[in-house]
């Protein structure tokens, strides 16, 4: 990778927990760095805390969440900013792209306007030119009949069309860092390919994508980070991770893929507040578990390939 890449986002020791009747530890000591041009995919089972991680960075979680650690975007510490300053970054520098299948778009507003909204808010464009720009963006993701569907409402869109419109919305104000949350959820095979092409067509944007669709991750990402039960367990360049997974969980996960013979590892991820999961969360299901695993292993660096497992001490 050439030297022009500079650090865009540095997340250090980020933890998120929710008080209330039962204490939930959603994210535990996650640290990662994102450089310009990176295509990072965060993989993990549902409930491993990956979406919450994204929202925590942009401080979009509900007030009842308790977030610790620090997130530095370029030279600003996001957690120190006032709501106003954070708004200046959201949408214009970092943008969040929700799932296409959910109702991520306001049902009562035209799609064209919603895509153009960041432009109006951050670039001070008037509504008419902004919406024209939005139509171009939709054409760029070739949704078809962009002129007319821009004036239509979200419920007339199919899941795939909605996902691509949301991506357009994310980049409409020229954001350099794109957070995508489960973009392939609820889409059939061909729509997933279309979405992957849409992401790959993005030049100049850095992507942080959360998904549980491994094939999609492989196709879209340059680096992958694996999360399991609120912990970050492995991070490595995509091809290296897929060819030579180091962490037992990652190895088992890849083995369970249809292409690799559907060999399933029985058992479930521990619930968030189980007391006896101190140390390595995968301990109970790991075939190489040893006494040492009772303490939480740190992230070891094996030639640019981080893994949280005592084997690689």
């Amino acid at each position: 990778m050439d030297e022009t890449r500079q650090i865009l986002l540095r997340v250090e020791d980020l933890s998120v927990s929710f008080e209330g009747k039962n204490f939930v530890q959603a994210v535990e000591h996650v640290s990662l760095e994102v450089f310009t041009g990176d295509r990072l995919c965060i993989i993990g089972e549902t409930g491993s805390g990956k979406s919450i991680l994204l929202l925590a960075i942009l401080r979009l979680l509900s007030p009842t969440a308790r977030v610790t650690g620090s997130v530095r975007y370029r030279d600003q510490d996001l957690f120190r900013l006032t709501e106003k300053q954070l708004d200046a970054i959201r949408g214009s520098r970092i943008s969040y792209v929700p799932q296409g299948s959910g109702n991520g778009m306001n049902p009562l507003l035209r799609v064209g306007f919603q895509v153009a909204e960041p432009l109006i808010a951050h670039r001070g464009m008037k509504r008419k030119p902004a919406e024209a720009r939005a139509v171009e963006l939709l054409r760029r993701f070739h949704l078809g009949r962009e002129e007319t569907i821009a004036r239509q409402y979200p419920f007339t869109y199919s899941g795939g069309m909605r996902q691509r419109a949301l991506i357009a919305m994310g980049i409409s104000a020229g954001a350099e860092l794109l957070f995508a949350d489960e973009p392939t959820k609820g889409l059939d095979e061909t729509r997933v390919l279309l979405t992957a092409e849409a992401f790959n067509a993005l030049e100049g944007q850095t992507l942080v994508c959360v998904t549980h669709d491994l094939n999609f991750a492989r196709r879209v990402s340059s680096r992958v980070c694996v999360m399991y039960a609120a912990n970050q367990v492995e991070a490595a360049p995509t091809e290296e991770l897929f060819r030579k997974p180091l962490h037992p969980y990652t190895r088992d996960m890849l083995a369970a893929m249809p292409e690799n013979g559907l060999r399933f590892r029985p058992g479930y991820a521990p619930a968030h507040n189980d007391a006896d999961t101190a140390g390595c969360k995968y301990r109970l299901r790991c075939d190489r578990c040893s006494e040492k695993c009772r303490q939480t292993p740190p992230m070891f660096d094996v030639g640019g390939h981080q893994v949280r497992c005592w084997q690689y001490e």
Partner: protein, 330 residues
């Protein structure tokens, strides 16, 4: 879309006609000889003693002993020609009584509707935005209690406290006599203060509850998260996204309330001696004043049907899904 609207209008007219018939049958088969209520108990017994012929003349005049069919036909004709006959109590045309009564009821109900809609919305949004927050924990119990106090008790207690003991507000009636122009308006406002205050309390608590539950539901919707992530600022998120979606159920309930605009709140009007539609309907029904009673039923039926119609149209205007679904379903 046009076909849909015409169909709705047709159904509305049919509903109104049905209600007229039902109210006619109900009122006319009501037990109790209307003549007694027509001229008052004492005079009825006096006339029965001294001048029964005149009684028969009255019965003839109001056509009370014709069979139901002819009375119904005559009533239908009069409804068509908008001449609603003469009120039994003061022999004035029903329409004239209605105009004066409606004027007074509207003076109470329109400000109530507007203030309550605004107050209910603003407070509801604040409470809904942070459910379980400090503001919510204070206002919800208050409005819940206000919602449950029977209106007659509250009206009487406040009347005696403010009007009699503290003399802030006149005790009785709608306007002090013998004043004209600006002074008359001032005196109307002065008389209006307490009943308006009570009506606003009740209406606001209803609107507050509705808005709060709607907003607290919408607040957790995904598109609100997306809106916040666009960095367009707290104000725009609130008004353009949260509020707009909250308006759909809120506006339907407002339109429903429009229907009761003219019927007025019977109990508050009876307590304050407010000669509005509520009291007119109450006296008409209890005094078997057929002409006025039927007119009141007809009027409130028309109002409710129109307001439902308006509710549908406003909904379709705001929510494209309903518009398309409406278009598609016939």
């Amino acid at each position: 879309m046009l076909l849909h609207v015409t169909k709705k209008v047709l159904i509305a007219i049919l509903t109104i006609w049905l209600i007229i018939t039902i109210s006619f049958v109900l009122v006319h088969t009501m037990p109790g000889d209307p003549i007694i209520f027509l001229i008052g108990e004492e005079e009825y017994y006096y006339l029965l003693d001294n001048d029964p012929a005149y009684l028969d003349q009255l019965i003839e005049k109001y056509g009370l002993n014709d069979d139901m069919g002819t009375q119904y036909a005559r009533y239908m004709r009069s409804v068509a020609t908008l001449d609603f006959g003469e009120s039994y109590s003061n022999h004035k045309p029903v329409l004239e009584n209605f105009l004066s009564a409606a004027k007074w009821t509207l003076r109470l109900s329109i400000p109530t509707l507007i203030v309550a809609c605004f107050l209910g919305a603003v407070l509801g949004i604040h409470a809904g935005i942070h459910p379980g927050g400090r503001f919510d924990r204070i206002t919800t119990p208050i409005f819940l209690v206000l919602n449950t106090i029977p209106s007659n008790c509250l009206s009487l207690l406040l009347l005696i406290l403010f009007a009699y003991k503290l003399k802030w507000v006149p005790i009785n009636g709608m306007v002090s006599p013998g004043v004209m122009g600006a002074a008359r308006t001032a005196s109307i406002l002065h008389h209006m203060a307490l009943p308006l205050f009570i009506l606003i309390i009740f209406r606001t608590s209803g609107d507050f509850m509705l808005m709060k539950s709607t907003v607290s539901q919408i607040r957790s919707e995904e598109y609100v998260l997306t809106a916040r992530s666009k960095g367009i600022g707290r104000q725009k998120v609130l008004f353009r996204h949260v509020l707009k979606n909250a308006l759909v159920p809120y506006s339907t309930s407002l339109c429903m309330q429009l229907g009761s605009l003219l019927s007025g709140s019977m109990i508050v009007e009876v307590v304050f001696g407010w000669k509005g539609m509520g009291q007119m309907m109450y006296t008409a029904v209890s005094n078997r004043d057929f002409a006025t009673a039927q007119f009141c039923f007809l009027l409130s039926a028309v109002c409710v049907v129109l307001s439902n119609l308006l509710g549908d149209i406003v909904n379709a205007a705001i929510d494209p899904r309903i518009r398309r679904e409406a278009g598609a379903d016939d």
